[in-house]
Subunit: 413 residues, 2 copies
């Protein structure tokens, strides 16, 4: 441990303790401000490296890049350059930010290139094509199907599509959904605003490479198609027809899903690999992986009432995700469906009841574990509440974090 | 009837008998050819009116249109002009094509403006954002839920999302999907190519106007948001986990959906309005409409084996669709979900078992009504088969048709 500490990289940029955006992370995002049009940036501490300015000042000359590739309102054109190029850009920035490298630190245009995070307006980073969501097999209904299925066939991930137009970025509020909701005695339904609005703490994998219609991608090859990872809050109205993940309408989900701003690359997550539950036991061949495809990401959800302080709701970890990103892409393409650069793949909730980890209020309520300070009787998310989802990896003094997804719930319109 | 016949509009363009593209229709599509880049056209008989050329030659001067609005690879920018403008364009073309109007007929550039349908390469007409599909309540499983639901709440449409990247246009083949399929004795599952590949004959409504996140659109207002209608073949692998519309994975659907090329406007369908089953009885207020929102569209599916002739599989009618387009948009937005220009809304199958009308092989098989010539024992769609879906309205000598969606099934890769 002492030795590891000694070898840690440091940046000349001040990186506050507990910052998600260390020199080991360097996630990509899209920002603009009053002076600057939308562009690609890399976060470090409280700063953003303006990659467009960095390119203009000649710092990326040894990497073949077209002019204007960073002057975009989504990461898609940059991601389209391919991992060999995007990796070179991130590694070059890592060199330039190293405390021992004076090139950018002492450059006359440093002030132009390094933008304050507080002065930046962050934007939704990806132009999303499709968003495919998967179900967590620890859900009771899923589990019961799993039970019957496992005797007659292999267990595979269950997919459905999310509505893309209602995917919002951190900081965007939404109005409480309406619909046919269960009456309080659960005996029937009535029309009204949801009384059981819930979060679901998940990860979203960002597809970085397109496949062809008719082709299947094996789990062993699938990571080539994943550029990075975001935080995903898959809002759910438990009382709008369909409490189960399969049954009934997706109108219990389609009103909003929230994503974070910074795409953390798989390269940055490399030190945090772990195996997942869905990698053990008998697996249908196309889902078999040759390595640990899961990641050890600590995930937390917080709730701040309109007039009150922020309370920790839950702590969990993405190592409880049943399936890996690679397995979900393999499942999605096994039937010949293509995937496209900019697609998102949502992991499903990452709870582990055995260890007391939950990632939605429904699950927390099941075990009487709502931990907000303002009353043990609190149920679900109320108007005016702000839910923040955070995630980070930490190991041997290295921290790689995702920032947060902050979402305020407004009353029904 | 005699009187009606006498008043019928005629065009100086030769319109073959049984042509879908009469002067009453004038649907919009996107085409290109060896000489011409992608652009907006209107179909009439065996010709396409090149709207870009029509604009350049000054025929649309009285309508305020930006230069290049028709030089696009999707209809979206044109549709974004709004119905008051798109309607003017269609009506102007209807005037110009009238047999009594010499303006275009005798114009020196007529040859440039009128392009042969056979010389055109048709393209997918819409840049699709989201595709929301609804379930047909006559499906046994849906019906059983309807039974239990109707005692405890209002019956409402059930929605799910379709994968957008796998929506293909007429003429695009796809490979038979693979997955975990039911064994022949249905006792368990095995991995392989689907043996029960089926079509589903549906309509897709094209959203022509965006709404805001949090807003709901009532069924009474919803037609303002619909630009027109396409044919939709919602391919389904019955034996890939999940034979029901709700249960299990959407991998039984996500490999391919096929759409037709020409968007028929609601204006063209006005004479063919009809009431629908879902407009009768007690209805939750937001689904109530003030007019007949259904359309009397005759729908047919044909199957042509690799070596064989085309056989009629089924004839049905969109008046058997349970819900109207307006009701489906209202349902989709009741929870505050927005809709965006370019979204598609799929109607669900339009079968009516009472009258012996079916719109999928699964339903035809249920009643032993597979009508292909090459054997009553034929089951589902085979490799090399081409399924064609056609649709048209006909009344009082007026025909307004959709053309067709032609899809060939290739073997699994």
């Amino acid at each position: 441990m002492e030795n590891q500490q000694a070898e840690l990289l440091k940046s000349w940029v001040q990186v506050p303790k507990q910052s998600d955006f260390t020199i080991y992370n360097l996630p990509f995002g899209i920002f603009r401000n009053k002076r600057l049009s939308a562009r690609v940036g890399i976060a470090i501490g409280d700063k953003i490296v303006d990659l467009s300015a960095l390119q203009e000042e000649g710092f990326l000359q040894d990497i073949k890049l077209e002019e204007g590739v960073f002057l975009q309102d989504s990461l898609n054109p940059f991601i389209a350059l391919g991992k060999s190029t995007t990796r070179k850009v991130r590694e070059r920035v890592q060199q330039l930010l190293n405390e021992n490298n004076p090139d950018l630190k002492d450059h006359q245009s440093r002030g132009r290139i390094m933008v304050g995070l507080k002065e930046a307006e962050m934007m939704i980073p990806i132009k999303i094509g499709d968003c495919t969501a998967f179900e967590n097999p620890s859900d009771p209904l899923v589990a019961s199907y799993l039970g019957s299925s496992s005797t007659s066939g292999c267990f595979v991930p269950f997919e459905s599509q999310r509505k893309v137009s209602t995917i919002i970025s951190s900081g965007t509020p939404f109005h409480r959904p309406k619909g046919q909701i269960s009456t309080l005695d659960k005996a029937s339904y009535e029309f009204g605003a949801s009384r059981q609005l819930d979060f679901e703490l998940e990860l979203a994998y960002v597809v970085g490479k397109s496949s062809k219609l008719g082709d299947s991608i094996s789990a062993a090859d699938a990571e080539d198609y994943i550029f990075g990872i975001l935080l995903f809050n898959d809002w759910t109205a438990r009382d709008i027809q369909g409490q189960s993940p399969f049954l009934f309408s997706k109108s219990s989900k389609s009103f909003a899903s929230s994503i974070s701003y910074w795409v953390v690359t798989l390269d940055a997550l490399e030190p945090f690999r772990t195996s997942l539950p869905g990698q053990e036991g008998d697996l249908i061949p196309y889902l078999q992986t040759k390595r640990d495809d899961g990641f050890d990401i600590r995930l937390e959800a917080y709730l701040k009432p309109e007039k009150g302080t922020e309370n920790l709701l839950c702590q969990t970890n993405s190592r409880h995700a049943y399936w890996s990103a690679a397995q979900l892409l393999a499942q999605q393409t096994v039937n010949g469906s293509n995937i496209e650069l900019g697609d998102l793949v949502a992991s499903g909730t990452v709870s582990n009841p055995d260890e007391g980890h939950y990632s939605s209020m429904a699950e927390l309520l099941n075990v009487g574990r709502i931990t907000t300070e303002d009353g043990g009787n609190r149920e679900f998310v109320q108007d005016g509440d702000t839910v923040s989802v955070r995630g980070y990896c930490e190991k041997g003094g290295i921290r790689v974090g995702f920032g947060e997804v902050v979402t305020k719930v407004l009353p029904s319109k």
